[in-house]
C-alpha cells in the first residue's frame, strides 16, 4: 500500500499517522473477521458447541470495530477534507468495513446454526462439499485481505473472477442437500440449516469480491462494480 499510495508523504505528519492508524484498524478488523469465519466453520464441521458460542459472542466485537473505524473516518473527512487518493482511501475503507461487518454476521450465522444442528441426525461433517466450499471461501477472504493490505490490483481482479467458482460449488452443494431431503424427510431440518450455512459462505465470497472491487477503485480510481471483468482489464490495460 505504501508504495502505491504514499500514505506517509503528507506534509502534515499527524495526517500520515491518522491514515496509518485507520488503515491498521481495518487490517485488524479484517484479521478478526477472518478468525470468526474460520472458527465458525470449525464449530459447524466439528460440531463444537463451545466454539460456536464463542463465535456468536465475538460478533459484538466486530460490530464495535466497524463503529469505531466509521467514527475515525468521519473525523478525518471533517478535519482533513481529503482529496484524490486520500479521498478514495476513505471511501474504500468506509465501504470495506461494511462488507467486513456483514462477513462477521455471516460467520455468526455459521455459529448459530452449528448450535442448532441436531446431533441425532446427519451433521455437517459428512458433507465433504461443505468443507470444500468453506475452505474455498476462507481462502478467498484471506486473499482479499492480503490484496487489500498490499493494494494489489492484479490479485484483486483475479479474486473477483474466482467468485464464480464459489457460486458453482454452492450450487452443487444445494443440489446435494435437496437430494438428501428427498431421500429422507427426517433429514430436512438439518439439511435446511446446512443449506443456510452454505448460503452464508457463498455470501462471504460475494463480500470478499466487493472488497476487491474497492481495491481497484482505491488504486486505479475506477469503479468496477457491475462491469464485466474483460472490460475492466481492457480499460486498465489501455491506461497503463
Amino acid at each position: 500500500m505504501e508504495n502505491e499510495l504514499h500514505l506517509s508523504q503528507h506534509i502534515s505528519k499527524r495526517f500520515n499517522q491518522e491514515l496509518e492508524e485507520v488503515r491498521n484498524q481495518v487490517l485488524k478488523m479484517g484479521g478478526l473477521v477472518e478468525q470468526q469465519v474460520s472458527n465458525g466453520l470449525i464449530a459447524l464441521l466439528e460440531a463444537d458447541q463451545a466454539l460456536a458460542l464463542e463465535v456468536v459472542e465475538t460478533d459484538a466485537k466486530v460490530n464495535a470495530m466497524e463503529v469505531e473505524i466509521d467514527e475515525t473516518c468521519t473525523e478525518i473527512l471533517a478535519r482533513r477534507q481529503p482529496a484524490a487518493s486520500d479521498l478514495r482511501l476513505m471511501v474504500s475503507i468506509i465501504k470495506t468495513i461494511t462488507d467486513l461487518e456483514r462477513i462477521g454476521d455471516e460467520a455468526e450465522k455459521l455459529g448459530k446454526n452449528a448450535l442448532k444442528i441436531s446431533p441425532e441426525q446427519s451433521g455437517a461433517k459428512q458433507f465433504v462439499e461443505l468443507r470444500h466450499l468453506g475452505d474455498s471461501v476462507k481462502k478467498m477472504l484471506n486473499r482479499s485481505l492480503n490484496a487489500y493490505a498490499r493494494m494489489n490490483v492484479e490479485e484483486a481482479l483475479d479474486i473477483i473472477q474466482s467468485d464464480r467458482l464459489i457460486d458453482e460449488e454452492f450450487d452443487n452443494l444445494s443440489r446435494l442437500l435437496i437430494l438428501k431431503m428427498m431421500e429422507d424427510p427426517r433429514e430436512i431440518k438439518n439439511a435446511l440449516r446446512i443449506s443456510w450455512c452454505a448460503r452464508a459462505l457463498e455470501r462471504i465470497g460475494d463480500h470478499s469480491k466487493n472488497i476487491c472491487e474497492y481495491i481497484v477503485y482505491l488504486v486505479k480510481g475506477k469503479d468496477v462494480r457491475h462491469t464485466s471483468l474483460d472490460d475492466v482489464r481492457k480499460s486498465l490495460l489501455a491506461e497503463s
Binding site: 508523504q9 506534509i11 482529496a83 479521498l87
Partner: protein, 278 residues
C-alpha cells in the same frame, strides 16, 4: 518561439513536465490561449501554456505560490502591459478576436474581460459612484434613469442591493470586507463584461462571506465566463467545472474538476491537492 538560451529559467530540468495531461481545450471556448510564454526580464514565468476557458463555465487555476497562475490570469486582460519588464508571447483570443492586436484598446478590453482582486478595492467614493463609474466612462447610459437602472441591477446581480439600498450615498469603504468584495463584483458587472477574472476573490473573507461570494460565482456563470485563481483547493472543488493545475510556470494537468479532485492523472497534481511532498 522562445529562445531559452538567453533566459534564466525558473525551473530545473527535473521538474520539467512532458506536456500537459488531461483536456485543456473546450468544445465551446470563450477564450483561447495558445503557446503562451511570459518573461519578467530574463526570468520565464510561464512556459508554453495553451488552454481554453469554456463558455459559461468556471475554470479554476490552482497551484503553489509562484507557479504563474496569477501571471497567466493577468495576461488575459492585458494587466501585464503596464509592467515594463514583462514580455508576453503567444496567442490570446476572446471569441475570435486577438486581444493583443494593435487595434484592440486595452481599456475597452478590460471592460469586456473584468477583474476582481484578492483585496476588495472600492474607490473612495459612494457605493453608487463605485458602480456607476465604469458605465459612465464607457458611455453605457444616456441619462440618469438608465444609469440608476444599471447600478441597481448590478448591485442586485452581485447580491448586495438589499443590504445597501438605503445607503447608496455612503462611502464604499464603509462596507464590511465581504460587502466590499461584492461591491467590486457589482462594479465589474456594471460594464457588461463577457469574462470575469478573479484573483483569490475570497481569501480575505470569513467563511460566511466566502460562501456568499461562491454562491454568487455559481449564479454569475449563467451569464459570464469565469476564471478564478484560488489557493483554497476546497473552493476550486466547490465552484469550478474545470480545474487547471500550474506548477513552476507550466500547466501540468487540466480537466473536469470532479476528475482532478478524485483521480488526478499526474503525480504532481496528486501531491499538491493531497498535501504531499512533491
Amino acid at each position: 518561439m522562445v529562445d531559452n538560451s538567453s533566459s534564466e529559467i525558473l525551473f530545473s530540468e527535473d521538474t520539467k513536465i512532458d506536456g500537459t495531461v488531461g483536456h485543456c481545450f473546450a468544445d465551446d471556448a470563450k477564450m483561447s490561449m495558445r503557446n503562451v510564454n511570459v518573461f519578467y526580464d530574463k526570468k520565464q514565468a510561464i512556459n508554453n501554456i495553451s488552454l481554453d476557458l469554456a463558455r459559461n463555465q468556471v475554470t479554476a487555476l490552482i497551484g503553489p505560490s509562484g507557479c504563474g497562475k496569477s501571471t497567466f490570469l493577468r495576461c488575459m486582460n492585458r494587466m501585464n502591459d503596464n509592467i515594463a519588464i514583462c514580455r508576453v508571447e503567444g496567442e490570446f483570443k476572446l471569441d475570435d478576436e486577438d486581444i493583443y492586436a494593435k487595434k484592440m484598446d486595452p481599456v475597452l478590453l478590460r471592460a469586456r474581460v473584468g477583474m476582481v482582486f484578492q483585496k476588495p478595492n472600492p474607490f473612495p467614493k459612494s457605493i453608487y459612484e463605485n458602480v456607476a463609474y465604469g458605465p459612465k466612462i464607457h458611455g453605457l447610459a444616456s441619462n440618469k434613469a438608465e444609469l440608476d437602472e444599471i447600478v441597481i441591477t448590478s448591485l442586485q446581480k452581485a447580491g448586495l442591493f438589499n443590504e445597501v439600498k438605503d445607503r447608496l450615498d455612503d462611502s464604499g469603504t464603509s462596507l464590511s470586507g465581504g460587502q466590499q468584495q461584492r461591491l467590486c463584483i457589482a462594479r465589474t458587472i456594471a460594464v457588461s463584461p463577457e469574462v470575469i477574472l478573479m484573483d483569490e476573490p475570497a481569501s480575505a473573507l470569513d467563511p460566511i462571506a466566502t460562501a456568499v461570494i461562491e454562491e454568487l460565482i455559481d449564479e454569475l456563470k449563467e451569464k459570464y465566463t469565469i476564471a478564478i485563481v484560488t489557493h483554497s483547493m476546497q473552493q476550486a472543488a466547490r465552484i469550478s467545472q474545470t480545474t487547471a493545475y500550474f506548477h513552476m510556470g507550466q500547466l501540468v494537468e487540466m480537466g473536469e474538476t470532479k476528475k482532478i479532485f478524485t483521480n488526478p492523472s499526474h503525480k504532481l497534481t496528486e501531491n499538491y491537492i493531497t498535501g504531499r511532498f512533491g
